[in-house]
């Protein structure tokens, strides 16, 4: 069963969005989806880059009214 984990970093600034995303990734299992919600512009650029570095799958980035939502999938084990 895959879980959907929500990371709320609204109002948080560097490095917190990145740090909280990493914490959520560590607690997740293969197949889980993580949704990070924030409004710090720099983190909107940073987190997708970290997703690539960590070998995870970027499902999408949505933005509305200054708030962004980044969806990440933990790859299934081969």
């Amino acid at each position: 069963m895959t879980k959907s984990n929500r990371v709320d970093v609204l109002g948080e600034t560097c490095p917190v969005p990145l740090v909280e995303t990493r914490k959520a990734v560590r607690k997740s299992s293969p197949g889980d989806i993580i949704e990070v919600i924030g409004n710090h512009p720099e983190s909107k650029e940073e987190i997708p880059m970290a997703v690539e570095e960590l070998g995870l799958e970027l499902l999408g980035i949505e933005e509305e009214g200054g708030q962004w939502k980044i969806r990440i999938k933990i790859p299934e084990e081969d």
Binding site: P15, V19, R22, A50, L54
Partner: protein
């Protein structure tokens, strides 16, 4: 992700802004999937004493504490995470804090003076060099 990417930081300075930078870089590196160790030596070790983490002076424009006070106000306004919480994050993400044995001897610092619960190990320069040799990123702060 390249397994075994390591970052090693020497925290030699005890200045408020420099220790802050070290913690931000350290947690940043951990967040990017790296293995991170921070080696606290000389003035940096002072910051590992109980209740001392954010007590260092500003590295420049301290103005007898006025500059630091103004900097703290700016940090609060930008909602920057507090140093103690960053150190907690650092430990939670598996970062290692190493305290320099020699500095403790020179400055007469005992283990009981330090926050033993945040310190991963006590060691000497050889251990730092071993970590640094295996690291892709080495920084002197």
């Amino acid at each position: 992700m390249a397994e075994g990417d390591k970052a090693t930081l020497i925290v030699h300075s005890g200045d408020f802004d420099k220790v802050y930078s070290a913690l931000i870089i350290g947690t940043g590196a951990l967040s990017m999937g790296m293995e991170v160790s921070m080696y606290f030596t000389f003035w940096g070790l002072e910051r590992l004493k109980k209740n001392e983490l954010d007590k260092g002076p500003l590295s420049r424009m301290n103005f007898l504490g006025l500059g630091k006070w103004m900097m703290k106000k700016k940090l609060k306004k930008s909602n920057v995470r507090e140093m103690d919480k960053l150190l907690e994050d650092f430990n939670e993400l598996g970062g290692k804090i190493l305290a320099c044995d020699m500095t403790m001897e020179i400055m007469g610092v005992k283990k009981e003076d330090l926050r033993e619960e945040v310190i991963t190990d006590y060691c000497a320069v050889g251990t730092y060099i071993k970590e640094a040799k295996e690291s892709d990123v080495t920084l002197f702060i």
